[in-house]
Symmetry: C2
Subunit: 207 residues, 2 copies
Amino acid sequence: MTVPYDVEVINVGKSPTKHPVPQHEINRILVSLAREGKTVVRLKGGDPYVFGRGGEEVHACLEAGIDVEVVPGVTSALSVPALAGIPVTQRGVATSLLVTTGHAGADAAAVAAMASGATVVFLMGVKALPGIVEAAQGAGCAATTPVAIIENGTTSRERVTRGTLADISRIARETGVKPPAIIVVGDVARPGLLASAVAATPDPKGD
Amino acid sequence: MTVPYDVEVINVGKSPTKHPVPQHEINRILVSLAREGKTVVRLKGGDPYVFGRGGEEVHACLEAGIDVEVVPGVTSALSVPALAGIPVTQRGVATSLLVTTGHAGADAAAVAAMASGATVVFLMGVKALPGIVEAAQGAGCAATTPVAIIENGTTSRERVTRGTLADISRIARETGVKPPAIIVVGDVARPGLLASAVAATPDPKGD
């Protein structure tokens, strides 16, 4: 990212295991700098309101009497499946889409959505995968329900691992699936949904 | 939109009641022009895979042996609530988000999501609102569950109508809510969630 030389940049970036600057401190910095009369841009990856804690930051600013303009972004919950060839909705296949964090497994809404054939996107769900699978099967989801796991989505290191509720936990273990990854459960994750099996066969020459 | 003078523009735009060019014809145009060797851009509002029928168009192209690059967009399901001050997820308030079409009412996934406290965004749900409310209450949702209806979201004609499951159908009827509108059901639609009631009070001078 290039910014003009006179712009002060404060990195409060998070990684899955490291939150170097706690949320309340981020809120405090935003308010404090705005009160100095500065124009403050809080730049986030994805969409600020899709598990981005943007609401907490806006709340802190509004409570302090500071005006905020929110610019929606492209959430990884939709863009990562899209670039992996998975449409989160598709006429005749899935007419509802649920997005959830997944680090605590599948909540009641996610279980019901999987059971009713909706597409369910789990962010941060790799560690909870066995629990998610168990909850889905306990709710009566077919063992053949497709599951796709997209690691490092949209990057050059992207890897898509596919299976079904019956075998995805074993496959993920065997292939060493690791965070960051997005899990998609539902018929839209079926291999060949967008292209027939013939068209989807990799070129044997590898190009 | 400005495009270079030598770019051929084919308008296949849809409105809620008019689909001047049927989907199969759109698919045919894409394949036909690509086969002529042209670079074809299929420009859509929102995200092509969130009820945008992008999957059907990609499928038609891939089956015809035509490569496709998909560029994710900003879906109105998230951006319209955001610009109306409603964060679709918020720590401690809603940890799952369901998006559904809503023109046929609330499907099983939507009903379960509302009942479990997830945020539910209905696109194209204005006519089905009474049925959505009835389904939610039948599933045990509290009558006090907040509901917001955003007409003409993100435009200068945007209007936000708020209520609860108990009264939103009456309010929508009385205020003459009309499509296009997005309905948000869940605690994130509570007035004052991002700013306290005091801070949210309109300035009496109207500025």
